[in-house]
Every structure is written in structure tokens, then in C-alpha cells.
Amino acid sequence: MRIRHVASSYIFILLFTISITVAGQSPSAGAVDNSGANKVIRTVFEDRVRQYASRREELERELPPLAKRATAEELAAHKSALLEKVLSDRTRAVRGNIFTPAAERMIRAIIVRHYPGRTRVELKKELSEAETKNVPVRVNGIYPETAELVEMPPTLLLVLPQLPDHVRYRFVGTSLLIVDRDSHLIVDYMANALP
């Protein structure tokens, strides 16, 4: 009787340990967590990015359209005119407009789940070696064209909230930025995205 009792206790502990371990491992390594509150936070985040993108589109429509086959001079002129327009429209922009505290928590959790332990350390090391030292990490800062645009890990892109075409996620050190694709304006950022 006692042996059966001890055996069943061991089996219980074993099953409990397995369930804890499984729960702790990036479940379906980075699956999109769309449950409850996170779904709301994600929706708000995506709405705010969309607001920026559509306003930016409006402003770009006021400029002479850029041909699909442009000269270097046309590219430079369009880029600087777009930047000027967007900047003058965003004088009140502050950090956290898009990366609200709730959005930051959600995104940090996604990243931590996607890059557990050592893999996150490796990513941080890679990012620290990138040629991004001259990027002014601040809202309405300009991502310099001479700085490296470190590739966004594609497996992470699949689990982060999707962004509209005009904006991109970019890592600079451990900060995660949202950068305008063509004007290179830093729209918003969150610090310590890779804790």
C-alpha cells in the first residue's frame, strides 16, 4: 500500500514537473498571444501605428509624386520634403504615443518568450556590435543614412504586431524603434526591449 502511495506521489511530481517545464518553454516558440487583455493592447497599438501611417500618407500626397523610376536627385528631394512635412506635423509627438506602457509590456513579453535565455544574450551581443552607435534614439530623431539598418529577425517579425508598409521595427542596441521607412524619422521607441 505504502509502495503504491510513494509511486503515485512520484508520478504526480513527475507529471507536475513536466507540465511546468512545458509551460515555461516558449510555448510554440513565439506563438502570437492574442488572449484577452493582450488582444486589446495589440489592437490599440496597431491602431496608433495605423494613425501615424495614414497621416503620413496624407502628407506625402501633398508632395509631387515620386516616380517608380526616379533619379538620385528626385529621391533626395522627395525624402527631405517628406521629412520636413512629417516633422512639422509632429511637433507634439512624445515617447509612448505608440509604445504605451501596456504595449511595451506586451512586446517585451513577446520578445522574452521568443528569445529565451541564451538566445536573447546572443541577439543582444549581435546588436551591440552593429554600426548603430550614431543613431539618436529619440522621438523625431533621424535615423542616419550612414548607420546600419540591422535586419529584423524574421521569426520575431512573425510574432510581433504587424506594421503598415510605411513603418518598420528596428533594433538599436536593446531599444526597439518604429522608424518611417522612407523619411527615416524615429516615430517612437521603447527602451530595454531586450532585457
Binding site: 533619379t71 538620385a72 529621391l75 522627395h78 543614412e145 539598418l149 535586419e151 524574421p154 504587424q162 522612407d182
Partner: protein, 302 residues
Amino acid sequence: MRRVHLVLFVLYFTLSVTPAQFSSIAQSLSVKATAPTKARIPEITLPKREGSLRVVVFGDAGSGNKVQYELGRVMEEYRQSFGFDLALLTGDNILGKKSPLDMKNKFELPYKSLLDSGVKFYASLGNHDTAIERFYAPFNMDGEEYYRFERDGVSFYALNSNYLDKKQLDWLVDQLEKDKNAWRIAFFHHPPFSSGGTHGSNKEVRAILHPLFVKYGIDVAFSGHDHVYERVKPQDGITYFIAGAGGGIRRGDLRKGSRITAAGFDSNLSFILLEFVGDEMHFQAISLARTRVDSGVIKRRD
């Protein structure tokens, strides 16, 4: 006695130098030998079959430095002899500043003869390129960061490996599913497989792209990022090339003894010539010193 010393020296040298090092030394010697850039008829091992599609591939070129211009001239010599009219750029096409003057000095002038003779360039974007370059007419991207085009029954997929988001991957799958061409070539900046010591294999890009390539029949993929030439042993039937020595070289950067290397060259700038003949893609990698650093034939996957 002197002869004995000489024999011993040659023996010692031969035993202590690995084949890769030997090839590297031989290449640098040949670079010195041909440094005065006296044009000579380039050696072409490709079949030059009438009507075949002929292509040049290179990347990481846009430094605007002297050697980029020199390589541009060597490519022009090979164009005259081989007759390619298509160029694939594997990214980092304009390094550093990107003013109109930079665009001229780092692209339009180094390849002026090629551009003037009608070679059509198709660019993919690297981590030192900006997305707005997709509108730059000489890159033929027509405003798209990733795109497909075809020539003579060969499909070419230019991907943006800086930002492989869901939208791009959905597009890629959709295009590949509809593709009727037998040959499918991909080119992009970050190499899924590489023996480069500076960057090496990009495992994130590999995790996403390689299974798609296997499933949807990509035959060959070209990348850059590591400033070397490498042909990787076929991975699930796909041959990966690194063509990242178009504007600078990281000498000795290839990891010696890498198990994935089929052929490598890291002692001078280089580019690759391709010729498609039926189910075969012939290739020849050429150094700035106009030496053949690799060549062969790849059969299309079934």
C-alpha cells in the same frame, strides 16, 4: 647542397600550407603580377551557347573606392568577351552617404560602361541600403523592396532580407505557387549559409527561407553580406553562393575547414558569371586579377 636546401624549403612550404592558404597565396601573387591592369583576354570557361541567358552577380560593392572602379572595368572586359546583359546585385549597393553625388560615384560611374552597353541591373537591398532606393531607376526595382522578374524561362526573386515580414513571405509563397518557369533563382543580402568569419550563416533567415526554397523549388540562391566568395555545398539540393566581394574584401575571412564550403575565395574582389543552358546553370567566379577562382555546372532541381 643549395639544391637540397631548395627541395627542403619547397617540401616544408608544401606541407605547412593548407590547400586554401596555398590558393590564397597564389591568388595574391597573381594579383601583384597583374596589378598594372593591363587588359588581357579573359579566360571564359562557360559554354557561350547561342541565345543563352548570361548574367553577372556581385554585391557589397557600393563603396566608391578605387577597387570598385577597377572591378567595374574588369567586368566590362568580361562583358565584351562573354556578353552578359543582366546584373544581379546582392545588396549594400550604396554604402555610407547616399546623396545624388554618392549615387553617381558609388554606382553610376563605376559601372558606366556596363550601363551604357545596356546591362540591366536588378538590386536587392542590404543592411547599408535605404528602402527609398527601391525607386532608383538604375536598380530596376520599380518601387518594390521585393519583386520577381523573368528572362528566357528563368524566374528571379529579389528579396529584402532586412525585413522578411509576413507580407513579404505571403507574397513569395503566392508567386512561387504560380510560377510556371522551371528555373527559380533567389537573390538577397543575408546568407542563410556562409562560412564567413565576420557574419556567417544567418540562422534566422535560414529558418524562414530555406524550407520555403526547398518546398517551392528554388534552385540557386545568391547572397552577400560576407565580403568573400563562397559556393556552399548543396543544402537539400539548393546551391547557395556568397557574392559579397564586389567592393571590398575581408582577406582570410572564410573559416578554414568549414564543412559547408564547396569552394571559397577570400583574397581578392570577385564576381560571378552565369549562363543558363537548358537544365544547366554554368558558373564561373572571377577575381579582380582576372583569374578563375571557381567554375562548374549546376543541374536544375526536379
